[in-house]
């Protein structure tokens, strides 16, 4: 830990206090965020992702891995970033696990075969990884098509989707579309609510 971080990293008591202060609405917000972000990751349930995100700073404060919470960032914003990070890590490790298990399956072969297999495994993704990628691509495409269909008569949301496609920020989208801030926020809320319902993944309500 860098000396300048010493004063800002939350202690175990501060993390525990922040966790205890989470309200029902906070948990609802975290659950919705996890349900959106878990798509394509190794998480099968949004609750698992929320659980890991909330426990992460606690484990870090105990010195057992996890992500450290700096008090300069609001706890909720930190948890959102942690959900994003854990989902991305899980997405990568799911692919690695499949590659590793494929490599492991060749262990009984003789050395020459094993070398050849590992060369092949590095050069070409395994059947499982390819299948996983294809599954994710199909799911993504389906969500995008449904969003387009759902909002075909909603020009404000269409601007938002176009802006995201072109990697434009909120201000730029507002300027290009002549939407007021309120119109933009209301439209983005409509879009987000639809996305929440369309993103694949198991969830409880």
């Amino acid at each position: 830990m860098q000396p300048d971080e010493l004063g800002t990293v939350a202690s175990i008591e501060e993390v525990a206090q922040a966790i205890q202060s989470l309200t029902d609405v906070d948990y609802g917000r975290l659950y919705a965020a996890a349900a959106i972000k878990m798509s394509g990751s190794g998480y099968a349930d949004a609750g698992d992702l929320v659980n890991d995100a909330v426990l992460s700073p606690y484990r870090a404060a105990l010195g057992e891995g996890g992500r450290r919470w700096k008090r300069t960032v609001s706890f909720m914003a930190f948890l959102f970033m942690t959900i994003q990070g854990l989902a991305s890590d899980s997405r990568r490790s799911a692919a690695h696990r499949l590659t590793d298990s494929h490599r492991q399956s060749g262990r009984d072969d003789d050395d020459e075969d094993q070398d050849a297999f590992e060369t092949l495994a590095v050069a070409t993704p395994s059947v499982e990884v390819t299948a996983l990628n294809e599954e994710r691509q199909v799911a993504r495409r389906r969500v995008m098509e449904r969003l387009q269909e759902h909002f075909k008569d909603d020009p404000e949301v269409q601007w938002i989707m176009l802006g995201l496609e072109e990697d434009k920020g909120p201000e730029e989208i507002q300027e290009l579309s002549s939407m007021t801030e309120t119109q933009y926020e209301t439209a983005r809320r409509r879009w987000r609510r639809a996305l929440e319902k369309l993103v694949p993944g198991r969830r409880r309500s």
């Binding site: 394509g40 959102f80 926020e185």
Partner: protein, 138 residues
């Protein structure tokens, strides 16, 4: 659109949705949950219970680890202890943990503990120099 671009766009969509969720007011979240028939209280209760259990487990494993380190340092020797009666022992453990949060050894009010748990915690606190056996005479 190439798959790389589609993947990047999907990630941007997810992040934009999260930004919107973070900015939504509590009233909006409540309203949306009611519209969707979501049981926020139930979701929160289940998560709270699970998180509290895992926090307690993490604290306990930390305590076990600390005890193992102490045992190793002391040549794995732990003298047979004469402990005070259970009620007094519980009081000592409870007060010590309340007064020494920096020890990182946590205690949850209402947690069901067996007699052996209490005795083990008492021994741990002695090993951590937070309780001194002569204090038991009070």
């Amino acid at each position: 659109m190439s798959e790389d671009k589609a993947s990047a766009l999907f990630a941007r969509m997810q992040d934009a949705a999260l930004e919107d969720l973070l900015q939504a007011s509590d009233q909006e979240i409540l309203k949306e949950a009611a519209e969707d028939g979501k049981d926020l209280r139930g979701i929160a209760a289940a998560l709270r219970e699970r998180i509290a259990t895992e926090m307690a487990q993490a604290r306990r494993s930390r305590l076990v680890k600390a005890r193992e380190q102490l045992d190793a340092r002391r040549g794995s020797y732990r003298a047979a202890r004469v402990r005070p009666p259970l009620q007094q022992l519980k009081q000592i453990v409870t007060e010590t943990l309340r007064n020494a949060p920096a020890a990182g050894v946590a205690f949850r009010e209402g947690q069901r503990l067996t007699e052996a748990d209490w005795q083990s915690m008492y021994d741990d606190l002695i090993d951590l120099d937070l309780v001194h056996p002569h204090d038991d005479d009070r």
